[in-house]
Amino acid sequence: MSNAPTDRKYAETHEWHKSEGGLIVLGLTPFAVAELTDITFVEMQGAGTQITPGDSLGEVESVKATSDVYSAVPGEIAEVNDALADQPSLLNSDPYGAGWLVKIKPSETSALDGLMDGGAYDEKYPL
């Protein structure tokens, strides 16, 4: 059932990273969302926050668990998806689209080369 889009790169921690007009859009994969189950709360650090790979960008809560979110690239949070504050279930219904979490202004993007493409991700984490 899974068909990870080929226009983005995937981390072992189940975030997708998509280059878009000089920014990196970041979200969670359907695999991660299926593990978390119904999302009840999303809180990302605010725009302007400097981020480093390995540091938590924010938290996603579900009926079953609370989970940290990570970026593979360093930089600055340019925009947060405000729609998730009132409608966290967008992560369940459209994780690759309307359920995006943050846009990052990357200070460098070489780490993306080490991430999985859609095919490799699907193979490793089939839904």
Partner: protein, 380 residues
């Protein structure tokens, strides 16, 4: 990993399978679109009906002329006044008054009982029964692998049974019927773990396919309001939390005193005084606790402000002092707000008491003590 007789059914219906107490069980069922929702399954049970596989629960048959006396020793409830066809909820305590498990006792006949215990405690309770049996004559037969058990729960499910039985819809709460349908023997009890009306059915493992077909007569399982939608362990957990039903490993445990659980009905402290009565394991310790003024903490409900969910083991603070601990929590689908159950110091259990939950983060969650349960099914 252990598999129930319905394992293939779960796979065929999109079950998102997880390890639960060593059993491969559905957390929820994925829809055709590949998504799935615990909340949708929860609401399905509250408004209509759902089917749970609960075959992982331990089913022990106790048979012999001293079967009743063995249960009197093990159970905090009195057994001698149970009639054939009656079920009773009980706690099983250890010597110090802690809770080894909770269970449902079915009285099949004068000398035969079925004892339904938690899946994770099946072996422990079997060993416990053997250790307290002494010279009582009672055979203990673990029927778990030979049988299946399903729970059908929700406000509309009793109507389903009128298709093939007059007796089942007429059952009172905590009563059961043994039905011979075609070649299978079903035990149908009006019991459950969701706060809704419904039944639990125990039947031979190899008959489950036939039984599911029979129950589904005249029901279109693909219809949006089908009362027979599969519901997984995720919804089972949020449903039982709203109904404030304790769960072993959360509200119940060997180091949690049975008096703290605050279910007075579950402890017959005078059961040894009847001529047929016997003291139960842990009764002396509990009497001692009562004599000393009762337990120092009690199970309470918490209504949590905001949108964030507390988690098990988080400290509960009263005036910044840690005086309690969260045992279970979720965003209640029915109340549309976060709820929690917690053990809290007896001095602060009055409903309306303001507390905080320490999440380990900078921001604490504000909450208020409330009476349990969070949800009661409307009377029909």
């Amino acid at each position: 990993m252990l598999k129930t007789p319905l394992h293939q059914h779960h796979i065929d219906h999109g079950g998102k399978m997880v390890d639960f107490a060593g059993w491969d069980m559905p957390l929820y069922y994925k829809t055709a679109e590949g998504t799935g929702s615990i909340v949708d399954e929860h609401n399905q049970v509250r408004t209509c009906g759902g089917v749970f596989d609960v075959s992982h629960m331990g089913r022990l048959r106790l048979k012999g002329r001293h079967a009743r006396r063995l249960l009197e020793r093990a159970c905090s409830r009195r057994i001698h006044d149970m009639q054939e066809g009656q079920c009773r909820y009980t706690l099983i305590c250890n010597e110090t008054g802690g809770v080894k498990d909770d269970a449902l006792v079915y009285r099949m006949s004068e000398d035969e009982f079925l004892f339904v215990v938690n899946g994770s405690n099946r072996e422990k309770i079997t060993d416990h029964l053997k250790s307290i049996r002494g010279d009582l004559v009672c055979e203990i037969d673990d029927r778990t692998m030979k049988t299946a058990m399903i729970a059908i729960q929700g406000p509309t499910v009793m109507e389903l049974f009128s298709n093939f039985s007059k007796e089942i819809p007429a059952l009172k709460r905590f009563r059961f019927a043994v039905k011979n349908l075609m070649i299978m023997k079903l035990i149908v009890s009006r019991t459950g773990y969701t706060g809704e009306d419904g039944v639990e059915v125990i039947l031979p493992a190899n008959m489950i396919g036939m039984a599911m077909k029979l129950i589904a007569q005249n029901v279109d399982p693909n219809s949006p309001d089908s009362p027979l939608k599969g519901t997984g362990l995720g919804a089972r957990d949020t449903l039982r939390m709203e109904a404030a039903m304790p769960l072993y490993g959360h509200e119940l445990g060997e180091d949690i005193n049975a008096l703290e659980v605050n279910m007075p009905f579950a402890l017959n402290m005078d059961k040894d005084e009847h001529e047929l009565g016997e003291p139960f394991v842990g009764q002396e310790a509990l009497k001692q606790t009562i004599a000393e003024g009762g337990p120092r903490r009690q199970l309470v409900g918490l209504l949590v402000e905001g949108k964030r969910t507390a988690r098990q083991h988080m400290p509960v603070l009263v005036n910044s002092e840690p005086l309690g601990v969260v045992t279970s929590a979720c965003v209640s689908p029915t109340l549309a707000q976060p709820i929690a159950m917690a053990y809290l110091d007896k001095a602060h259990i009055e409903p309306g008491t303001k507390v905080e939950i320490d999440t380990g983060r900078a921001d604490k969650l504000a909450a208020e003590v409330c009476a349990l349960p969070f949800y009661k099914a409307p009377k029909k």
